[in-house]
């Protein structure tokens, strides 16, 4: 390194502004362009008679973006123009998305409140005809709770053990293959897990206990849901286990505690809040699944407490069935069931997020 290289720079630095001051667009320009764009759009749309207010807004937004870019490009330069245009685009993406999502939420609450009564939560659809205004989702709620509960009982131990293997014991290709396929499994559509349980449990295994008849049941739905939940639980547990600081394990090993005991007594309890969060999110997702339940639990209008025998419904399936029902009272039932389902899912999700937040603070 010699000073000669330092002094050999080109006379004009490539990136240096001569002055810090730049010409800036006055503040009134952006709103002015907006107003002008809307006016032009309105004139074009109504003048040519090609549409209504929605088209005016859309066309106005496009004109605004173009106008803003042109103005900024002329006054402030290309970089600033790009910055402004992207900023406007990003803001408008947000506005664009709020409309449908807000509509979904609003419809859900306003329509769902219609049948929010004791009858809805206290009765089933048994003997409810097309002209009956009442009828409820009691049987579906029971179905959802039982199916999700059983699925959780199956998934949690399996998922924890699998994650422990991947994090604590697994090495080499086999562990990599398991991680890879857990990732792949997250992408399996729910309807495929439903078909799998249909082909495996309902049509092949369960007829053995069932006098050769296919055994549609809540338990079969629980099996399908656990195939769906397993990868989620494994992944979140895996991440949590990796977050447990090594010194904690080392402390236990130094005391002469065997590895399995260290895992069960030290590592798992430390990671527990995070694991519970992951499990709750998995439950929330499983509770909202319709397709597997439709295929393997069969649905049904009557209350059935026994998940191992005969058809069972679930809230999500109830929504779907009511949506397809011709009765003029069905839509109200569908929306109220949807609201109930969303409430259940959101309670789980919010609890999980709060738990995760507290956990994060604790770390």
């Amino acid at each position: 390194m010699t000073t000669s290289t330092l002094t050999s720079h080109r006379p004009r630095p490539p990136a240096q502004p001569a002055t810090l001051r730049t010409r800036r667009l006055p503040r009134w320009v952006a709103p002015a362009i907006g107003v002008a764009a809307l006016l032009i759009a309105a004139a074009v749309v109504y003048g040519a008679g090609i549409g209504g207010p929605v088209l005016v807004v859309v066309l106005g937004a496009l004109l605004y973006l173009a106008g803003l870019f042109a103005a900024a490009n002329a006054v402030e330069g290309r970089r600033s123009a790009r910055n402004r245009t992207w900023s406007a685009l990003i803001h408008s993406a947000f506005v664009l998305a709020v409309l449908p999502l807000a509509s979904v939420v609003w419809t859900l609450v306003s329509k769902g409140a219609e049948r929010l009564d004791g009858n809805f939560f206290g009765t089933s659809m048994n003997n409810i005809g097309a002209r009956d205004a009442n009828g409820g989702a009691y049987h579906a709620i029971i179905g959802t709770l039982e199916q999700v509960g059983i699925a959780t009982l199956i998934t949690v131990p399996l998922g924890l053990l699998c994650a422990i293997y991947v994090v604590e014991y697994g090495r080499g290709r086999f562990a990599f293959a398991i991680r890879f396929f857990v990732d792949v499994m997250t992408g399996i559509p729910s309807i495929v897990t439903g078909l799998f349980v249909l082909a495996f449990w309902v049509l092949v295994v369960s007829p053995v206990f069932n006098d050769g008849r296919p055994g549609f049941s809540g338990f079969a739905a629980a099996l399908a849901l656990s195939v769906l939940m397993l990868p989620t639980v494994v992944r979140s547990t895996e991440e949590m286990l990796r977050l447990v600081p090594a010194p904690l394990r080392e402390g236990a090993y130094a005391l002469g505690v065997p590895k399995w005991k260290t895992i069960l007594r030290v590592v798992l309890p430390t990671a527990l809040p995070g694991i519970v969060t992951g499990v709750m999110l998995a439950i929330a997702r499983a509770a909202g699944e319709t397709a597997p339940v439709l295929l393997v639990a069969g649905g049904g209008a009557a209350i059935n407490f026994n998940p191992f025998e005969n058809n069972q419904s679930s809230l999500a399936l109830f929504v779907y069935q009511q949506a397809g029902d011709a009765s003029k009272y069905a839509p109200a039932r569908a929306w109220t069931a949807a609201l109930t389902l969303v409430a259940l899912v959101l309670v789980l999700t919010i609890a999980a997020k709060l738990l995760a937040r507290r956990n994060r603070l604790g770390r």
Binding site: M1, T3, T5, L6, T7, S8, H9, P13, P14, A15, Q16, P17, T19, L20, R21, T22, R24, R78, R79, S80
Partner: protein, 258 residues
């Protein structure tokens, strides 16, 4: 190339918290100025307010006047990006862009400024890397990820990235605090060479480093936690370290406080 910085009555806030108060100081062109002082005394805040990086944090603002060769940095008509191009910054931890190669890191600033020609980029990259004393170590692997270098090399890569846009002033926020002694030495050597071209302001916790590299030293301090940091003494480095005129400076230099 190098420019002079004048601060008068600079006060900086984080929301309601006043971090520094009434800083007055002039930095001469082509010198190395060291900012020293105990933790939390606001020296980094002052440094970050010079290239308007302070205001990046939510709720942060600056009062008073900061000028570079007489131009007000905080003037309403001033383009922030122009300020930052003119006043480059090297951070405490080496922060090369993790997804970019060594070459792409060095020319990132030039690309932002619309330099597209391959030959110009290659020439500038080589020059900057040579200036940062890194060329010989990386010339054979310019296409490799910049984050694959050692800590000291990464920091020199960041210096190269900063000087590639040929700023007038280079701010360094404890550039060696995350580095080993050998890398630190390499960067200190580099500062000696760079001051031929740039005005350098460096924040450091290491008083030997301040004494070794700087021409002028500014000592910042606070009364107690929660108070704003103030400039206690600003003088030639030699004077500060041999015969400070304020008792508090002497206490800090000799290790009796801070």
């Amino acid at each position: 190339m190098a420019k002079r910085i004048d601060a008068s009555n600079v006060t900086a806030y984080y929301g309601a918290f006043k971090a520094i108060e009434d800083i007055n100081l002039t930095v001469e062109p082509k010198t190395v100025t060291a900012l020293i002082g105990p933790s939390g005394c606001g020296k980094s805040t002052f440094l970050r307010s010079i290239n308007r990086m302070h205001e990046v944090l939510p709720g942060a603002r600056v009062e008073g006047s900061l000028t570079i060769d007489g131009q007000d940095i905080y003037d309403r008509d001033v383009d922030v990006t122009a300020v930052r191009r003119m006043i480059g910054m090297v951070f405490q931890r080496p922060n090369p862009f993790p997804t970019m190669s060594i070459f792409d890191n060095v020319v990132a600033g030039l690309r932002l400024n619309g330099v597209k020609k391959k030959s110009v980029l290659a020439e500038s990259a080589e020059k900057a890397l040579r200036s940062a004393n890194l060329w010989d170590e990386v010339k054979d692997r310019l296409g490799k990820p910049g984050a694959g270098l050692s800590g000291g090399q990464q920091q020199r890569l960041c210096i190269a990235r900063t000087i590639a846009v040929e700023p007038q002033v280079v701010l360094m926020d404890e550039p060696c605090s995350a580095l080993d002694p050998i890398s630190t030495l390499a960067i200190e050597d580099l500062m000696f060479q760079l001051k031929d071209k740039f005005t350098i302001i460096i924040v450091t916790h290491n008083m030997q480093q301040a004494a070794r590299v700087s021409d002028r030293t500014a000592f910042f301090s606070i009364e107690k936690t929660g108070d704003p940091g103030r400039l206690i003494e600003y003088d030639n480095t030699q004077k500060i370290f041999s015969n400070p005129s304020v008792k508090k400076t002497e206490d800090y230099i000799t290790g009796r406080f801070g």
